[in-house]
Amino acid sequence: MNLDDLKAEWSTEMEHADQMSDLRLDVIKGDVSEIYRVVRLRDFWFLLVLVLGSFGPVFIHWVNGDSLGWLSQLGVLSFVLASAVVAFALLRARKVTRSDDWTLRSRLESEIEQLEKQKKLGYSVGSWLLAPMLPAIAFLSLGGYHDRTGSYVPDLSLSVYYLVCIAVYGLTFWLCRREAESSFGPLLAKLRRLHRELVEG
């Protein structure tokens, strides 16, 4: 007996096995619509958050007009710029090299690239989220405080607010890095193993 003897068995199985009598065509159609609906909904919420994140402070600035001091105005500007940096980083991480190559190798490489980008995004949360947001929040809060009190020296409540911000920053940094490792690490290892198995044999 050799491997080619299995061809007849395979052929028989293909001819006599269940010919998809339980084909759920309506479900297929529904699933396809669902995929597009989920993608559209996700993109809508994503854009909404970005637009609100960017223009919220601008609106506050417009409502308050000249009553905002230079530090608050700097805070608004910093917040808009920081939102743009965050949006750019998120969009760049979603972008993967697309080609017309639909082979398994190409798809695996594309998946690996996408996961590597997401993992890197989690690891570098300090540079694309926390660092740009830090001056924006500091300027906005200190600017608002100065507009109310006329002082640049934070009182106890503002100091506590800063301490809470630092704690939240630290927690965000730690959680994002942990999530990047636990969510993407095993998947990446699995995909790399499959890729090696495919390419190196």
Partner: protein, 158 residues
């Protein structure tokens, strides 16, 4: 949904189910089959009729299967351990087995990629067609088929 797509899927249903059953455990085979059907339906407009239909089906089905494999790492660890256990403790002698058993057993004992090559080989796809599915050179595929033959002989030929 065009009638020809429905007809095509019905005709190749066994093939799709066989591929899915290699990459999913029994409780999730139906889900994987459904996922493959969805992907086939979505890529159907781009299917070129000059290409062999099995090539297109393997391409789509294996991509879906690898995604399934990726998403079910934990479950598959247990499944793989059980399969290995079963394979080790089942008699390798062909005298006590039907060809169907041998085929199922051999598919279980191969890695995910080698199993895909075996299925395409048994389905009569040539090295160039497998290259179009997997993206590795025809030479490399030839080498791996030879290795599969040797492995098969070592395991099942008395």
């Amino acid at each position: 949904m065009p009638a020809d797509f429905e007809q095509l899927i019905r005709h190749h249903g066994a093939r799709i189910r066989r591929i899915a059953s290699r990459y999913a455990d029994s409780s999730s085979v139906d889900d994987l089959v459904q996922d493959i059907l969805v992907r086939l339906w979505r890529s159907y407009p781009s299917f070129r009729s000059d290409a062999r239909i099995e090539t297109w089906i393997y391409r789509v089905a294996l991509n879906a299967s690898m995604t399934h494999v990726r998403d079910s790492i934990r479950e598959r660890k247990g499944q793989a351990a059980m399969a290995t256990h079963a394979a080790l403790f089942s008699p390798a002698s062909t005298a006590t087995r039907s060809m169907g058993d041998v085929l199922a057993n051999f598919l279980t004992r191969l890695g995910d990629i080698d199993a895909s090559i075996l299925m395409m080989y048994l389905d009569g796809l040539n090295a160039d067609e497998m290259n179009a599915v997997l993206g590795i050179s025809a030479n490399a595929i030839g080498v791996r088929i030879n290795r599969l033959k040797q492995k098969f002989a070592a395991m099942y030929v008395d």
